[in-house]
Symmetry: C2
Subunit: 475 residues, 2 copies
């Protein structure tokens, strides 16, 4: 086909390119334009519709970026394969879900209430401040700032991070121990180069699946260690034969367990017992604690150089801020300097400078305090709304982080439906909830149906409505 | 010690913090403040000098960032270890040398003429344009732009890169094959996850040492394959037992050899001969070619899905632009999607958007053309100035890239000094030249003294003066 008869309305509130884009998108979604079908060239469509070529370009680019069409060099534009797209429901577009999946992923069903435990709330982000800092920094930008910086990250930012972590998390480190990198995934890749190829790593079961996949892609041997109410079980860890344990002591994902000081000491003792043993402390959402005294990071009680501390600004500032940091204990720092000094920094100096200003000038603290207040209100509302659920479910993991857990009091039997059936029921009513099963590295036996309910990206009204609707079904 | 008696001059052109900074720096450099000595706290120094605490803070931060002092949390500021610092010569500060080294590196001798083959020239960078684009993008910045983007990079930027590479380098790829990452080092780390652990990699000998170190840190078996005038020798490659060959066909580093089409076909044939064989094409400075028709990228003649193409904007735009791209052939793309889809992007969406605008609006092309002209002038001047050297040296690697090679016509004997001695002579006269020896993976036998002379960061006047001074010594 080489013609698209689009009736353009110059009096429409939509501009021309948007009308073209909407038309083609609808033709694809209704199946009138089929998979692999060639679109007219931008030139010929522009001539045919009597519009400028850049208008058609814009429309095509929008379709490209949304994955409706693809471009094959020297051949032209073709309709992509879009299997499930046609069944799309009405979009509410209220939540931003962290995109973890493959680029092959096709749009999923959109839910009216999405209780994603990984969603980000960007509504309160101080865009204006961030823009102002960027502008100010660019005013002074010179060739030095466009040169490659230190592989470990700019000393100023490392200094700022070490101060922040000392005051906020009790972390005790010199800026020399800090490595700044573009996200936790990258820092774990770098850590692999430091720890070497042959590592047996112990992970809490259940745990953060992304970290699991990353260690798995390193071909590390992974031991799934059970949790009790204090966190990772040390007896099982001991038996696992692991060299390294990956833990989230401040607020374990997904169980929400906060590891008490006693268990921390036991873990540290395990690490000290053998040379070459280390603990990776992922302090991923430690900023959000609503009740009780904040527990200092694990790292703060490590006098033996056994804790590798990892934190990120992607969680506390914005997912697009690709800045994480890793603090190496002395023995590993030496290996890094010997074996990995040549890896260039993955974060641009300009971005480092912006972040440095954001923290140093107090904006970060202000933003954190604001978010802590907002999240606390949502957290409290959540628990209040969950009161009627307590007969049937146990609520846990509260008081910290950005989600709570609901566990069915009864085991599955003829009278109790399965986790999957609970979820299916919710989904059909437009409510997305997440089963704990998906977070197990090694599936446990006879586990009760358990659900993660995140609240970060939902408005209070939505939390209320969503939980009411859930209650009508589940209770 | 707890006092620093600094006589501050309020009528000096230097502001107060700079006077404090200069004073302490000089005390450290002259050894009056010794290694590990504690500095007064910012509070007490501020009181003592009767200045604001932020003034002292500024001075300390400057010293921290330059590595003169370090901060130990809860303890204070201490003087760093600075072994060679005291012998520092006068700084000309005219060249920006790419910092590859460890963070432990202490300032080296500064040379009047630095013929670094890796130096970047940022004088012509269109800072104003870059700032303007950034400002414009930030005006529209919304929560969507601060969300995490596609793991492979934003579709718009991938589309732009695929168009650019098609027109500039003949590269034939769909945006779906492109992975955007924060630098080549990161992309090679990702490639390791795709290719797996047990790879024997063939590298040209000599080659780019950073790539060698990276492959070595993967614990890959590395075969050093000799070069002839057409590039990597295919007979040696065949014998090496390698699965993957890493080559720089457009302009080999360091030899400057441009691989002719015949040799490319031989290499491709080698790869096709066995399943699991691949070629990594590092097209690192292909933008700069001054004579002859540009040779399309290797990737453009690959109909068999055997070429992994890697390129970067760190070289062609600015080292701080941490954006590189890798094009995967279909079979490896499938492995990536299966095994590595969960690795988050390492480049922020805002940076991707800025770069996209920079390329799409034609600024990149304009900048490249400008730089090509400037570099060509320097290149021509270089060759002109090297005329007198031709009696004693062979000049090679010209017509492309940002450096040329000088090879001593005579082998080393009683009448001819060694490469190291040549370099020492130059160094003593304040001229930094780089020996080819450092770039060999496997040292060759009886190689002639050879030098890399880069010209990117030097002004024409400096090239002229530097080569004249070199001629006075070497000829």
């Amino acid at each position: 086909m080489n013609e698209l008869t689009i009736i353009l309305q110059s009096d429409s509130s939509d501009c021309l390119y948007q009308q073209i884009y909407e038309y083609i998108k609808s033709e694809i979604k209704t199946g009138k334009l089929r998979e692999d079908e060639k679109l007219p060239s931008t030139r010929s469509l522009a001539e045919y519709l009597q519009v400028s070529r850049s208008t058609v370009n814009l429309a095509y680019e929008q379709l490209l970026s949304e994955g409706y069409i693809e471009s094959k060099p020297q051949k032209g534009y073709f309709v992509c394969r879009l299997e499930n797209l046609i069944q799309l429901k009405a979009v509410t577009g209220k939540t931003t879900i962290e995109e973890n999946g493959s680029s092959r992923k096709i749009p999923n069903q959109i839910y009216q209430y999405d209780f994603s435990p990984n969603a980000a709330n960007m509504r309160e982000f101080p865009f204006a401040t961030w823009k102002k800092i960027t502008r100010n920094i660019l005013v002074d930008a010179n060739s030095e700032m466009f040169a490659l910086g230190s592989p470990q990250g700019d000393p100023e930012l490392r200094e700022t991070i070490s101060r922040y972590l000392f005051s906020a998390r009790g972390v005790n480190c010199s800026p020399k121990q800090i490595i700044i990198g573009a996200g936790n995934d990258y820092l774990l890749m770098l850590l692999e180069k430091i720890l070497g190829r042959h590592v047996r790593i112990a992970m809490e079961n259940p745990s953060y699946k992304r970290a699991y996949r990353i260690f798995d892609s390193f071909a590390y041997e992974i031991s799934a260690v059970s949790m009790d109410e204090s966190g990772m079980r040390v007896d099982e860890l001991e038996q696992s034969g692991a060299d390294v344990a990956y833990v989230m002591p401040s607020h374990q994902y997904p169980t929400g367990v906060v590891m008490p000081i006693g268990r921390r000491m036991e873990l540290l003792k395990w690490a000290i017992n053998q040379p070459g043993r280390y603990l990776i402390e992922d302090d991923y959402d430690s900023e959000f604690r609503y009740r009780g005294k904040p527990i200092p990071a694990f790292q703060s009680s490590d006098k033996y150089g056994k804790v590798i501390y990892i934190g990120t600004f992607s969680k506390s500032i914005a997912p697009a801020i690709r800045v994480s940091y890793m603090i190496l204990p002395q023995p590993l720092l030496e290996i890094y300097r010997e074996k990995c000094y040549f890896y260039s920094s993955t974060v641009s100096r300009i971005d480092q400078r912006i972040l440095n200003e954001f923290i140093k000038e107090g904006y970060f603290e202000r933003y954190l305090n604001k978010m802590r207040k907002i999240y606390k209100e949502k957290h409290d509302l959540m628990l209040e709304q969950l009161e009627p659920f307590r007969n049937k479910f146990i609520i846990s993991g509260e008081n910290a982080g950005l989600h709570v857990l609901l566990t069915c009091r009864k085991k599955r039997d003829s009278s109790v439906i399965s986790e999957k059936e609970f979820i299916d029921q919710a989904n059909q009513a437009g409510i997305k909830v997440y089963g704990l099963s998906d977070t197990f590295i090694k599936p446990p036996k006879g586990e009760r149906a358990t659900f993660l309910l995140g609240y970060a990206a939902l408005e209070k009204e939505e939390i209320k409505e969503g939980l009411e609707a859930l209650g009508r079904m589940w209770l």
